[in-house]
């Protein structure tokens, strides 16, 4: 299967603190890849490296065959093919939702102001926010902020969409509808999705493959589908992570009886 993004022998962290050591990872075209693990295992750090926000101490991050750190142009080229939804939405507070979605369009295209607005409106419409186009990010709910962030991430029809903990701070219904949106985008547009999360429900609902990190190993301890990892992993830590789900299942089974 064709790979879009590849990490080779990545080593890195914050300041002097080593978080990731010898991490190898590939993201395949069209898949939904979940990066999971308990708090502090380096999920968000890995995301920062995938996005080129941090420069690796060692190793390479390769997007479609070229190292993103080989030149500023390579990084810029890669970024123009990516869309990112941050944990908090990360919308610019001094702009309206519509202007936020217009930002990347302005940077990368030479459309007229009118066309920019039309595209931005249509993107907001896909996340069902067209009615709130002129609201300030701080005036809408957390779920709406994230959806607006998603609209902005999709503004340039990216090849890869990144999500940093999309369900953090959201109620199950809202995060469920966000999951549905992600699946729809993935299946209708063929967009590759990389998602950092620790929501088991989300992991089982949307991911094709799961990569699990562990803080003690400073890296990846398991790769596979969610069901494989849950049912067949020989690693205690992996079973423990997915086990919470088992406990919940047992309990609901018992209640059903």
């Amino acid at each position: 299967m064709e790979q879009v993004l590849k990490v080779e022998k990545l080593e890195g962290g914050w300041d002097e603190l080593l978080v990731l050591n010898d991490v190898n990872l590939e993201v395949r075209k069209g898949e939904v890849l979940a990066i999971v693990g308990k708090s502090g295992c380096g999920k968000s750090t890995l995301m920062h490296y995938l996005l080129g926000l941090l420069k690796p101490w060692k190793g390479r991050v390769i997007f479609k065959g070229s190292d993103i750190w080989s030149s500023p142009e390579a990084l810029q080229r890669a970024r123009s093919k990516w869309g990112v939804t941050f944990q908090s939405g990360a919308l610019l507070g001094n702009l309206t939702l519509l202007e936020n979605v217009m930002l990347p369009l302005k940077e990368y295209t030479d459309l007229s102001e009118r066309d920019l607005r039309i595209v931005a409106y249509s993107k907001l419409d896909t996340v069902d926010l067209a009615d709130f186009a002129d609201s300030n990010p701080l005036e809408v709910s957390g779920g709406m902020q994230k959806r607006a962030g998603l609209a902005r991430a999709m503004a340039l029809d990216p090849e890869v969409l990144f999500f940093d903990e999309p369900s953090a701070g959201l109620d199950p219904v809202t995060s469920g509808s966000l999951d549905e949106l992600i699946i729809t985008i993935n299946s209708t547009l063929g967009t590759t999705v990389v998602i950092v999360t620790h929501e088991l429900a989300s992991i089982f609902a949307i991911s094709d493959r799961v990569v699990m990190l562990d803080p003690d190993e400073h890296g990846i301890i398991a790769v596979g589908t969610a069901a494989e990892l849950r049912d067949h992993s020989s690693d205690e830590r992996v079973r423990l992570f997915f086990g919470r789900n088992l406990a919940a299942k047992k309990r609901s089974d018992r209640k059903c009886r």
Binding site: G52, F86, L91, G93, L103
Partner: protein, 377 residues
């Protein structure tokens, strides 16, 4: 008063009945104080928990402390009939009692030097990072000068209003007051020697060379440098800066240069305003306290000042503008974590920018001595 139902002391035994709760510690203390004497005299105490299913942590600490005090005084203390819960509670208390108190750093000359060295190292690191940051900003600025249409003019105008226009009242009033004070005090001293006609020259030189530009810079650093740090710091906390970078924006062109350009545009005029206000203050002081008519003041001033004096202050302010915008933005960019870090960044931005403005001023003054006619000794 001690709760007679829950604590009973008889023989060598203090027996606990029922559950001791957090809000009962006063009565427990009273009870303990009441019987302390007789327990010491007995030389032996058995804490009997056989009628207690468990006790809260706060009363346990009180009892634990009492037992410790007793055993230090040579009284033999033992527990009887304690359930597993109570036993493990006391064990936990003993464990953390044994661990040394944290936080109290041993102060010695050695550690003072270590701390000093660390601070100096950190400061040096900050300065070198700041230098790098300024380099990035200036190169982004140079790029924008070649393509002026790419500058975010609406933001520039916004910052010009915020940092320039809105600063006018304070930048006019403070130097004016300082001019009055300076004029009065200097004139008073000079009159003793009959030299009060030189007061206008003194005011002119001190205001235009130093006080005007410096005061304007300090005020702008306090008002706007901190605001820039807070603004970018908040964006950093809300991941907005990361989002901009991922979208491919050059954060220096997008966030920093509009602030710098705005300050470059307004600072010279703020300095000019500060100069005029300060001189006007001196003029007022002269005519009110020293019988120096405004006409005399202005003609004396005209003999002393040359256009370069005013111009130099405005030129210096260009350097200050670069410093204040960059230090504010740099401190904001360095924010990691939450809201507390933003607060620290704003403080650090003001302190460091004033510090650097003064250093720059000292260096520029050295230069000025060689440039201005009639100054070299």
């Amino acid at each position: 008063m001690a709760n007679p139902d829950k604590l009973v002391y008889s023989g060598f035994t203090l027996s606990v009945h029922g559950v001791l709760e957090d809000n009962e510690i006063d009565s427990i203390r009273d009870f303990v104080d009441e019987h302390k004497r007789s327990i010491f005299d007995a030389g032996k105490l058995i804490l009997d928990f056989s009628d207690s299913p468990g006790i809260d942590t706060v009363p346990a600490v009180v009892l634990y402390g009492f037992c410790k005090e007793l055993s230090r005084a040579g009284v033999k203390v033992s527990r009887n009939g304690a359930s597993d819960v109570i036993e493990s509670l006391f064990k936990t208390l003993a464990k953390f009692d044994a661990s040394p108190e944290p936080g109290k750093r041993k102060l010695s000359i050695h550690s003072h030097f270590e701390l000093l060295g660390e601070n100096v190292y950190e400061f040096g690191k900050t300065l070198s990072e700041l230098g790098h940051f300024m380099g990035e900003t200036l190169s982004a600025f140079a790029g924008l000068v070649l393509h002026p249409l790419k500058i975010r003019w609406p933001m520039v105008l916004y910052y010009m209003e915020e940092s320039g226009f809105k600063a006018i009242p304070i930048v006019a009033v403070l130097p004016w007051l300082l001019g009055v004070v300076l004029g009065y005090q200097a004139g008073y001293q000079m009159r003793v020697f009959g030299a009060e006609t030189f007061m206008p020259a003194l005011i002119g030189y001190s205001i235009t060379w130093e006080i005007g530009p410096m005061l304007a810079a300090v005020l702008v650093a306090g008002r706007s440098g901190s605001a820039y740090a807070a603004e970018i710091g908040t964006m950093q906390v809300r991941e907005e800066v990361d989002a901009l970078r991922v979208m491919g924006f050059d954060i220096f062109s997008y966030l920093v240069t509009p602030k710098m350009i705005a300050l470059l545009c307004v600072m010279p005029f703020l300095v000019l305003l500060a100069n005029l206000a300060g001189i006007f203050g001196g003029l007022l002081a002269g005519s009110m306290f020293l019988d120096l008519s405004p006409g005399t003041f202005i003609s004396e001033l005209g003999k002393a000042l040359i256009p370069l004096d005013i111009l130099w202050g405005m030129l210096k302010s260009v350097v200050y503008a670069v410093i204040i915008a960059n230090v504010g933005s740099y401190m904001g960019m360095k924010v990691r974590g939450g809201a507390a870090a933003v607060g620290k960044a704003t403080t650090a931005a003001v302190v460091l920018s004033i510090f650097m403005v003064i250093i720059a001023d000292a260096l520029l003054s050295l230069l000025f001595i060689h440039i201005r006619p009639g100054l070299s000794m």
